[in-house]
Every structure is written in structure tokens, then in C-alpha cells.
């Protein structure tokens, strides 16, 4: 590739980015979408998604994937790795958006400022994080499709050979940037949870564990995940953790819904409140477990050439479980603001 072709490509990419930035600024300045804007929510999803990616990939892999996005030609193996990276970025932003929604939803319920109206408004606004997550995921899906298209245009035999060729047969060791990723992720999570809780309540700051940690759901989700991992085996591959957290989270939310329905039939507000707490806490713990334990382990094991054929199940879990959580949040919102008819 000549130097002039390179600079032309850079110019095209820069002009595209500039046009998108202009459009975004125009939308912001118009003030017509102020209800759809939440700076902290966007920062949380963006930083969280980046740190999650840093937990699974090395800086070299990230750099290579970025270069491939700008159209740099490379071997099919390298292109495949980049496609894999961008697919994980889609997953990370999507899951981060849903986690942000769960956190904002719980914080909205913990802060009673502005009465019922204030709480309901904040609960509605908590969905913005999921919207941002979805937008960033859609942006990241473009390179995935582009790389897949390039790989498909190559001969079928070559592509097959590339897909089945493992990088090596040992698990990648945890790299320094991965550890930095973990630390930064915990920092971003702490910032999102602690900052809104500082001094907002009438009787002083609320402890985050009072809102997010509900022992029954923690026991059910952790117990269920450990059991599934032990039955399935191969914990180091991470898939059993990912599937375990998702399945037990789903099971726990179903248990919570059964309790909530009993509460509705017996018209017991406290029972419904306990059930909703159980649901929210189970969703939070399961999602966090997937993101902190399951996904990074699985990414590293797939990069080492293990379990690529079983990725379909993981993909279903990555994208369907957060969607189920969003639906559950909506149902919870309806349950909270719907009065039980009395008398």
C-alpha cells in the first residue's frame, strides 16, 4: 500500500468521524433530547466497556484490532482475532449498559427525594444507560460485520483452517493490562455506586451494601453457579461460570416473581417489596459475576483455542440474559408504581 493511499484512507475515516461528531453536537445543542441525556450514565458505560475489554485482551491485540478497523490488510488469522475482539466489545458495552440501568434503578429506589414523582422519573431515566450501551454496541458491530465479510470472501478451506487453528494449547496468562482492567473496572463501578449515594438521604448517606447486597439472592446465585460449574466441569474455561451465573440469575428472578405474585394475591406490600429486592439483587449479582469472572476467563480460553465450537451457547447468554433483565426492570417498575386495589 502506498503512502498516498494510506493518507487518503485516514482522511476519509477522519471526515466520517467529524461528520458524526457534528451531528451529535447539533443534537445536543438543539436541546430537544435533554431527557435522553445523562453524562454520568454515558461515561459509566463507555469507561466500563473499555475496562472490561482491557480485562480480556492485551494492548497489542487492541491496537491490532483498531488498525484492522481502519482497513489495514492482514492475514486471515489476524483478521479473525480482530473480529473476535470487536464481538467482545459489542458484548461488553451491551452488558455494561444493562448493569448501569440496574444500578441507576436501585439508586432511584434508594433516594426518595422529590416524592413518588421523583422516584418514578429517576427509575425511567435509569433506562438511558441501556440505550447508551446499545448505541455503543451497534457502533462496535460495524467492524465485526466488515471483518466477517472479508473472511467470507476468502476461500472456504482457508477460512476453515484459520477457525480451527488454535493459537496455542495453553491458557493465556493474566497480563499486566488485564490486571489494570480489573482495577479500573472496580474503580468505575465504585464511582457509579458511591457517588450518587453520598449524603442524599434524609438521615445521612446510605451504605451501598444496604441497597445492593441482599443475602438470600447472593446465596442463591453463588450457590447455583458453584453447583453448575462443578457439574459441568472445566471451570478454567469460564463458560460454566458464564452460563451458571446467567441460569441461576434467571432462576432467582423467577423465584422472586413467584413471591411477588403471591404478594399481589395476598395484598401484602412488604412481601412484594421483599420479592422485588430479591429480583434486583439477583440480577445485579448475576450480571456482575458474568462480567468479572465468566467473560474474561472464557475470552482467554477461546483465544488459547479452547471451546470455540461451544460459543453459540455463550453468545445466547451474553445477549439474551441482559435483555431479560431489562424486561424484568420494566415489570418491576410497573409493580412499584401500580397501586394494589384495596377495599
Amino acid at each position: 500500500m502506498t503512502r498516498s493511499t494510506n493518507s487518503k484512507k485516514i482522511l476519509v475515516v477522519s471526515s466520517r468521524i467529524l461528520v458524526i461528531c457534528c451531528l451529535v453536537f447539533a443534537v445536543i445543542l438543539s436541546g430537544k433530547f435533554t431527557d435522553l441525556m445523562s453524562g454520568p450514565g454515558f461515561v459509566f458505560v463507555l469507561l466500563g466497556g473499555v475496562t472490561l475489554t482491557l480485562m480480556s485482551f492485551s494492548l497489542k491485540e487492541i491496537g491490532l484490532a483498531l488498525k484492522h478497523t481502519s482497513g489495514r490488510p492482514d492475514s486471515a488469522e489476524e483478521q479473525r482475532k480482530s473480529g473476535y475482539f470487536w464481538e467482545r466489545a459489542v458484548r461488553n458495552f451491551w452488558m455494561m449498559g444493562v448493569l448501569g440501568s440496574v444500578i441507576s434503578f436501585v439508586i432511584a429506589l434508594g433516594n426518595s427525594e422529590g416524592g413518588i414523582f421523583g422516584i418514578a422519573t429517576r427509575m425511567s431515566a435509569s433506562y438511558l444507560s441501556a440505550v447508551y450501551g446499545m448505541i455503543l454496541a451497534v457502533i462496535c458491530i460495524v467492524p465485526v460485520l466488515k471483518i466477517r465479510g472479508t473472511l467470507n470472501s476468502q476461500s472456504k478451506e482457508e477460512a476453515q483452517g484459520v477457525l480451527e487453528k488454535p493459537e496455542n494449547n495453553t491458557l493465556h496468562n493474566l497480563k499486566f493490562e488485564n490486571i489494570i482492567g480489573y482495577v479500573l473496572f472496580i474503580f468505575v463501578l465504585g464511582w457509579a455506586i458511591f457517588t450518587p449515594l453520598m449524603g442524599m438521604a434524609f438521615e445521612g448517606p446510605i451504605k451501598p451494601q444496604d441497597l445492593f447486597l441482599h443475602w438470600p439472592s447472593l446465596l442463591v446465585v453463588l450457590g447455583g453457579t458453584i453447583a453448575i460449574t462443578l457439574f459441568v466441569g472445566n471451570a478454567a474455561a469460564g463458560r460454566s461460570f458464564t452460563v451458571g451465573f446467567a441460569l441461576t440469575g434467571f432462576l432467582a428472578t423467577l423465584m422472586g416473581f413467584v413471591q411477588a405474585m403471591f404478594g399481589f394475591s395476598s395484598r401484602g406490600i412488604q412481601e412484594i417489596a421483599a420479592a422485588i429486592t430479591f429480583i434486583l439483587s439477583a440480577c445485579f449479582i448475576a450480571l456482575l459475576g458474568m462480567m468479572l469472572v465468566g467473560n474474561p476467563l472464557e475470552d482467554r480460553s477461546v483465544k488459547a483455542g479452547r471451546g470455540q465450537k461451544l460459543l453459540t451457547l455463550s453468545r445466547i447468554v451474553w445477549f439474551v440474559f441482559p435483555l431479560v433483565i431489562l424486561i424484568l426492570l420494566f415489570l418491576t417498575f410497573v409493580m412499584v408504581v401500580t397501586p394494589i386495589q384495596k377495599g
Binding site: G223, Q270, I272, S281, V336
Partner: protein, 310 residues
């Protein structure tokens, strides 16, 4: 080696057998057992020494292992760790965790979030019930500094229609106010006047100011929706629940007692929060009697209007 050759020989098993015999013969010829006795003895000695050394190393390693285990076996935790890391035990623990979690949840465990949800749910039901209620009577007794206490009798005829009677503690009528969506009619019994106001905000009467917000169900519901900061909910034994709310920019809190059959408020107490030095002070208490059928004649400012004309 010979077995493999036999099985894999392309010329059949008999041919393979013959080949094996030939190789054995060749090996016997090449490596004859005809070493001189001195050399053989020396080799034997070397081999014995090597074997003894190997055995010594093995014995040393076993002893070291057992010593190390003896050294740490006094820590009971190690044995326990071995026991706990068994797969069966881990599965049992995880199943126990699930059962324990389910048990704690069904036994009514709560945390700050569930308390908040309880108070929110209760206030949503209360405001919904109040919006649906057609009539109500409530009374407020309020003490004043250096003056006789005031007594307010409020009758809610519909969500937007109220009649308020203000009297002194000895039943001397001071004012009667009719509150509707369109206007406010005020009858001053002391000065014997009747006047109209358009909005409650313009009606800045010091007698009524403390109880603004409790004059009509609609107002109460609006305050509940938009202003009251929900703090706490407690379920009482006698079919009543109390939820506490904070008022914005005020030191006072409200204690709303709710009848858990109808989810309508029974009393609302306005209390000045306790300071380090002071005790809690009751500012006023609103007592409600709900759904008592009231005559529409009660909402009739007509006779006073006629007296004013006269």
C-alpha cells in the same frame, strides 16, 4: 517392538515371525554376553552404587514429605481445606447455600431497599385510595403562642371540594372557607365579610397557612407525589401502618398513620425533629374520618351572601 512388527507386517504373520527370529539372532551376535569378569564385576558395582543412591534419594524425599506434612498437620485448617475442596462437599455446600437463601427469603428478610420499596408501595396505594375517596371529615387542633388554640374542621365533599371551619377552642367561629377548583369563598365571622379568591396561593391568610396542603384530597395527593420525601415504614399490630416522610426545606417530619384495611390515612402528625438539646415537638395532628356521607347542603355559601346584601 516385535509384537508391533508382527501385527503391521505387510507380508502376513508367518513372514513377520521369521523376520523377528532373524533380528533376535542378529542382536545376540552383535551384543554378546562375553565381557571379561573384571569389567563385569566393576559394572555390577557401579550399578549397585547407582541403585543405592537412587533408593537414598527416594527415602530422603519421602522423609522430607512426611516431615513437612507433620510440620503443618498441626494446623487443623489444612485437613479441613482438603476436605472442603472435595467435589462432593462443594456441591453439598452450594446446594445448602441455595436452600438457605430460599429459606431466608421466605422468612421475610429485608434490607434498606425493601424498606424503601415498602414505603413507596404504601404511599402509592394511599394516594390512589385518597384520589378515589368521595367524602371525608378531618379535625386539626393547633396550639398558638400566647393565644387560644385553634380548631379546624375540614370536610372533603369530593376530591376538589372542601369546606373548612376555623374555630377557637371555646367553639367561637372565626372563619368558614369553601374551596373548589374554580375559586375560594371566605366568610369572616369576626368582621362579618364575604370575599372570593382565585387561587390558594393568593390567599395568604395566617390562620390557614399552617394547614395549607391538607385542605383538599387533591392537594394532599399532589404533595405526596411531588414533595414528600419517603423515609420509613413500620407495620403496627392493630391493623395500622405508619410511614414517615420528610418535608423539603423544613426540620419537621410527618408521621402518617394508615388504616391497612382501606389504606386511607387515619392521622397525620407534623413533628419538629429532635435536636441534640430539644425533644421532638408535635406541631399539629390531623385526624381523619373517612367516607362519611355528607349532605351537599353543607357546601352552600348562599345564606351568608344574602346577609351581606342585607
Amino acid at each position: 517392538m516385535s509384537k508391533r512388527n508382527r501385527n503391521t507386517s505387510p507380508n502376513g504373520p508367518n513372514n513377520g515371525k521369521a523376520k523377528d527370529t532373524h533380528i533376535d539372532h542378529l542382536l545376540q551376535q552383535t551384543f554378546k554376553d562375553d565381557l571379561p569378569p573384571d569389567t563385569e564385576n566393576a559394572m555390577k558395582r557401579q550399578l549397585d552404587r547407582f541403585r543405592t543412591k537412587m533408593e537414598q534419594v527416594e527415602t530422603d524425599r519421602t522423609q522430607a514429605d512426611s516431615k513437612a506434612f507433620q510440620g503443618i498437620s498441626h494446623l487443623k485448617g489444612i485437613r479441613w481445606t482438603h476436605f472442603l475442596l472435595k467435589k462432593e462437599v462443594l456441591i453439598a455446600i452450594s446446594l445448602l447455600m441455595i436452600v438457605l437463601g430460599g429459606f431466608i427469603q421466605s422468612s421475610g428478610s429485608s434490607n434498606k431497599l425493601s424498606e424503601n420499596l415498602s414505603v413507596l408501595g404504601t404511599s402509592v396505594v394511599v394516594s390512589s385510595q385518597m384520589s378515589r375517596s368521595q367524602s371525608m371529615e378531618c379535625s386539626i387542633q393547633m396550639s398558638r403562642e400566647n393565644e387560644k388554640p385553634l380548631k379546624y374542621s375540614i370536610q372533603w365533599l369530593s376530591p376538589n371540594l372542601s369546606k373548612i371551619k376555623v374555630e377557637e377552642s371555646d367553639n367561637t367561629p372565626l372563619k368558614t372557607i369553601w374551596l373548589s377548583e374554580e375559586d375560594i369563598v371566605i366568610a369572616d365571622h369576626v368582621n362579618d365579610t364575604l370575599r372570593k379568591e382565585k387561587h390558594l396561593a393568593q390567599f395568604n391568610d395566617p390562620v390557614l397557612r399552617p394547614i395549607v396542603g391538607y385542605l383538599a384530597p387533591k392537594e394532599l395527593v399532589e404533595r405526596m407525589y411531588g414533595e414528600w420525601q419517603l423515609i420509613q415504614y413500620q407495620k403496627e399490630e392493630c391493623g395500622q401502618g405508619i410511614f414517615t416522610v420528610a418535608l423539603p426545606n423544613e426540620r419537621a417530619i410527618l408521621e402518617v398513620t394508615v388504616d391497612l384495611c382501606t389504606y386511607l390515612p387515619v392521622t397525620i402528625k407534623k413533628i419538629l425533629s429532635a435536636d441534640e438539646r430539644d425533644e421532638e415537638t408535635l406541631i399539629f395532628a390531623v385526624r381523619y374520618t373517612w367516607n362519611i356521607p355528607l349532605s351537599p347542603e353543607l357546601f352552600s355559601p348562599q345564606p351568608i351572601k344574602e346577609s351581606q346584601k342585607a
